[in-house]
């Protein structure tokens, strides 16, 4: 049980996927201008991550031992198909949810965070439930990072920022400061 708590907290805070591993940066720096958008993107992320974690576990346990060299290709194809399938299913089964999350789903396919999750999870040899908790923590961590950055950007919208540093450079420096703050979580739950 202890292990599961550590896996979750580590992925969420201590080794945050976005702020420590730099995964999921494209939407992080491009899309997050509003808090609401950030939350939705994060939720879509969590959703896809949970499904990916399950698929990665299944692939790793039953298919890949016979063809380890197909690891990367199979993961990528699974992720792309999953996103496609989830988008179609969402459209049909829950139009409201689709309206809220749907446009972000294609963006997620090339999002390093999803592939990163599959790779890290299988590298560490997590079982099924460990993988799911890991996905939950990782997705939550990405959402947290997105929300924090969006929040700060919303706050600074009315401030006078020097023209040269406006845009991506500014976002990166904010991200760096948030990342430093998250360093304070190290040592949590490792008694």
């Amino acid at each position: 049980m202890n292990d599961l708590v550590w896996i979750f907290v580590s992925a969420l805070l201590v080794n945050n996927f976005t702020l420590s591993y730099f995964l999921g940066l494209c939407p992080f720096l491009g899309v997050t201008a509003r808090l609401e958008t950030a939350f939705r993107l994060g939720l879509a992320n969590i959703f896809v991550m949970l499904i990916t974690a399950a698929c990665a576990y299944a692939l790793n346990t039953w298919v890949l031992p016979y063809a380890p060299y197909l690891r990367l290709i199979s993961f990528i194809i699974v992720i792309a198909s999953t996103v496609q399938f989830v988008e179609m299913a969402m459209k049909k089964l829950s139009p409201t949810l689709f309206k809220a999350l749907g446009i972000f789903l294609p963006l997620i396919t090339t999002n390093c965070a999803i592939l990163g999750l599959a790779l890290f999870q299988t590298n560490k040899g997590y079982g099924f439930w460990e993988g799911m908790i890991y996905a939950l923590g990782a997705g939550g961590g990405v959402t947290l990072a997105l929300a924090l950055l969006a929040g700060v950007r919303e706050e600074t919208r009315l401030l006078n920022i020097p023209k040269l540093i406006e845009g991506t450079a500014f976002n990166l420096i904010i991200a760096g400061i948030i990342s430093m703050a998250f360093m304070g979580f190290a040592g949590l739950f490792s008694s």
Binding site: W6, S10, V14, N15, P68, Y69, L70, I73, K124, A186, G187, F189, S190, S191
Partner: protein, 252 residues
Amino acid sequence: MNENEEIEEKKEATVIPVEPEVSSFKLIFSLGLAGLISGIIIVGSYLYTLPIIEKNKAEAQRTAIFKVLEGCTSFVTLHLIDGKLVEDDNFPKVKKEAITKEEHEVFAGFDADGKLIGFAIPAAEPGFQDIIGTIFGYDVVNQTIIGFEVLESKETPGLGDKIFKDADFALNFKSLATIPEILPVKKGAKKSPNQIETITGATISSKAVIRILNNAIKLWQEPINKFDKSLLKPPTTKGNTENSADKISENE
């Protein structure tokens, strides 16, 4: 009427040109072709690099084992499953009949005379930042730790990474008693052989190392004690010896 005309015009202007129909045969064929080329390239490079990668892994493992068991020149692999130690040869059969799926590996090291020096035990657990991967040498007779090596660490550079960079910390592991358990003490306060002096500024990383060692001892002590060590003999030709590196280079 004018409004309707405008809407009609707008509709015409936004008509998207129809793309020529592509037969599904062509779709499948082209994907299949890409897949075939990819497959050949991947399998080819895999087969070419696999022996080299395996050799690198074996080399790294051998170096680590020899480092934590001083004087070691050869080793054999043992597996822990269902609370019992099993030799490499018997392992596949025992694994099939095992109740629990959990298995661990340990290495029994021998010196040049074929005498058992001790066991090299790998252990890994969360430290301050992330998982710390270690291997340590365990002397069964004296029940002490005789060597310690950090294999993997993401601890803070300049602070936590002293667990493998600090010479004083390494001195703790020359002959570390494990009974009843390893305890942390402040620097300069070591009084008994089962104490480790923690690193100033890296208390959590140091305590993590102690926790890793204590938990590993708890896991391995009983199975190792119960195992009939007279069964352990140094390998003869299997290639686990120090000379195997020379053998491979001879064959090339």
